[in-house]
Symmetry: C2
Subunit: 417 residues, 2 copies
């Protein structure tokens, strides 16, 4: 009986995908969520895992567990090779094919190296829990190596960290890395961790370009106050082991992280529809793919416009799109016409460091201590539904009062916890 | 000035090594602690990390952070290649040599495959945080794979878990794995996790052989009550991918874990002193190596006898030895004669599952619910000093009341958190 219900396959268990699944909770459909990992990640706090402020489990939750009470939903941990829109099947990398009646593509984006994929090994980015743990490992190992080494030049390069890209991720990482370096000074005997250099390179004219110029300027000043070297108009031309080139200038840095540019998941390209240079898929107002009304594309994988501006690649937008895709599927099944997506912007937030943040609510701006407490409040509230909220609260309270970070573990073979 | 002080090099930041370092806090020496990882692990709770009950960071702490206030102590994250007792140097794997006046070898043990090192890939053991995360990954991935597969035989093999070795680690893992399988039943749609088989294979006549026979019998019955298949006198003769052989009997199991036998760290063999088949070093009553009074061997790496019986390889014994080695170094420096090691056994504990544990206090035994609550109390008290105690308490309280485990994350490339 159950198998005669329409089958909705959702690719990706991020903010968009899980919201779409939940939106179909009471609908007469079978739902299958496919993700390459077994967990949903609260991406806005990934930088905290990358900098050892939180454990991975504080900001991630098994997708299977999130949907355990939704009896019409099945979760599969699998890698998607491609979608065949003509035959309406999803091909998994083990060769299995899954037939769908509706498809919701929510596989998000990876960082883009602008055609220089070979830089990734020297400058990893931050999109998954795995990325966060690799960044944490490199960051902590640099100090361990500096403590062991005699050569002064090499020690200096080990204590120099370059962040490429002045968007929210680059700014958050830069601020917190400088703060941690300072907080760790008592732990080392041979090096002075206060000599750590954190360099933020932004190719454009200002950091946080998605914010109004006045807020960018404030964030820029906040970073400088923290001791971060901020350089705008600094286009990275080459990344080699231990060296970053900005034009002719050579920066000796053992540790480089990438926070510049996004490239949509390649699943989007197999949908047969138009996409932009970043691989994002152009969608109709109802979020479906032109010519394939049974396929919805949501979240960072989709290009959606509002008032002539692109809807930003942020969690609230992905969640709103997930809800709308589910709603349009339900409307289809009831024979009602589909509705169009309308992005409701509730404000943009970015944090730079302790008591330093900026908030853009359109009509008014907030900065400094008030914005920071607001940022903290919003993120703890968003973590509701995650069982780890209380644990996060405790760890943050601990870090706030002691200036220490608790999760500073390096495990062999690049694994961390 | 500082460099004229005697240099004490401690190999290993486990229970013995960290205790030895702390014992030299006020002594007129320089202390260097060398460990291949950057963290100390609370080993008795490793099985909880392996079964997703706790995050790695709940039971581990950076060694550097533990010793941050001990100004005479330096911590190096490095791999030790060998010790040259004649020249009194420790050779690191980067070629560096560290000269010591005193050496405290506390590098512990790994699991032993009795000459079949090739089995390790198919049946990993549990000694480090890394091991725990690998076991967790394999355990969770088995259920994910079973949910995807159509073949009934293969699905059965995926839901069969074999634990080799009926010591505390094997018993604890078996009990908790059976419990988790039951608790996860609501999360899957295609498989019934209650059909999971957990098989515990013990080569000897009874489980937990270090405990009195009556307590072994109770633990055996507790395991059966939980649904574990316990087989004593079952010697494993071969391990292949997906198959364990016990003599002529073939057990089809995709996931096998090893909890049988210990082999001392190979650092012990470079000390030039006598060692037993397991590689453990014979020491004098003052814990020094015969003929090399400046070298102490402690913890699982040492063979120490009390009343004709070997002191067990447990955390309290390692801590007592670490304290004594530090004390004897301090006595040397004051020109006082060394004292002999005397093991104070405070009782042995093992837990089997919820409300199931055994405790041996020599003159009296405790079992069941009371022993379990006692086990819980002791382990939370031991975690004092770790900042994570409160977090662990919360997670256990959560697990106790909900029967759920929170840290069920699988990350790509075998990494977990």
């Amino acid at each position: 009986m159950k198998s005669h219900l329409p089958h909705v396959v959702i690719l990706g268990g991020g903010f968009g995908g899980t919201r779409a699944a939940r939106g179909l909770r009471t609908a007469p459909v079978r739902v299958t969520v496919i993700d390459r990992t077994n967990h949903h990640v609260f991406q806005p706090l990934l930088y905290q895992v990358a900098t050892a402020g939180l454990a991975g489990s504080d900001i991630a939750s098994p997708i299977r567990w999130m949907l355990r009470r939704q009896r019409n939903a099945t979760v599969l941990m699998a890698e998607v090779r491609a979608v065949d829109p003509k035959r309406r099947v999803v091909q998994l990398d083990n060769g299995e094919e899954i037939v769908y009646d509706y498809l919701v593509a929510a596989t998000g984006a990876r960082h883009s190296y602008f055609g220089h994929g070979e830089w990734e090994a020297h400058a990893p980015g931050l999109k998954s829990l795995d990325d966060a743990l690799e960044i944490r490992r490199r960051f902590l190992v640099a100090f361990e190596s500096a403590e062991k080494i005699e050569d002064a030049e090499e020690r200096k390069a080990l204590l120099t960290f370059v962040l490429v890209g002045g968007g929210p991720t680059g700014v958050e990482l830069a601020g917190v890395m400088q703060e941690i370096a300072r907080a760790m000074r008592g732990d080392f005997r041979r090096i002075d961790t206060r000599a750590t250099r954190v360099i933020l390179l932004e190719g454009g004219p200002r950091v946080l370009p998605s914010f109004p110029p006045s807020l960018s300027a404030r964030a820029h000043q906040d970073l400088i106050d923290l001791g971060v070297e901020v350089r705008t108009g600094a286009l990275v031309t080459r990344v080699e082991p231990g060296v970053v080139w900005v034009g002719d200038e050579r920066i000796a840095a053992r540790t480089v992280f990438w926070a510049a540019g996004n490239e949509a998941s390649r699943v989007g390209q197999s949908l047969g529809s138009r996409h932009d240079r970043a691989g994002r898929v152009e969608v109709e107002p109802d979020l479906s793919v032109p010519g394939n009304p049974e396929i919805f594309v949501i979240g960072d994988l989709a290009i959606v416009h509002k008032d002539g501006k692109q809807v930003p690649a942020v969690a609230p937008a992905a969640m709103q799109m997930g809800s709308l895709a589910a709603r349009n599927i339900r409307r289809d099944l009831r024979g009602e016409p589909r509705v169009s997506f309308r992005y409701r912007n509730k404000g943009d937030l970015a944090t730079i460091g302790r008591h330093k943040a900026i908030a853009d609510f359109g009509r008014f701006h907030v900065t400094g201590r008030l914005a920071w407490w607001f940022w903290l409040f919003v993120h703890i509230m968003y973590l509701v539904g995650f069982r780890n909220r209380l644990s996060v609260l405790l760890q943050w309270a601990y870090a706030y009062f002691t200036y220490q970070r608790g999760v500073r573990l390096i495990t062999p073979e690049s694994r961390l916890c």
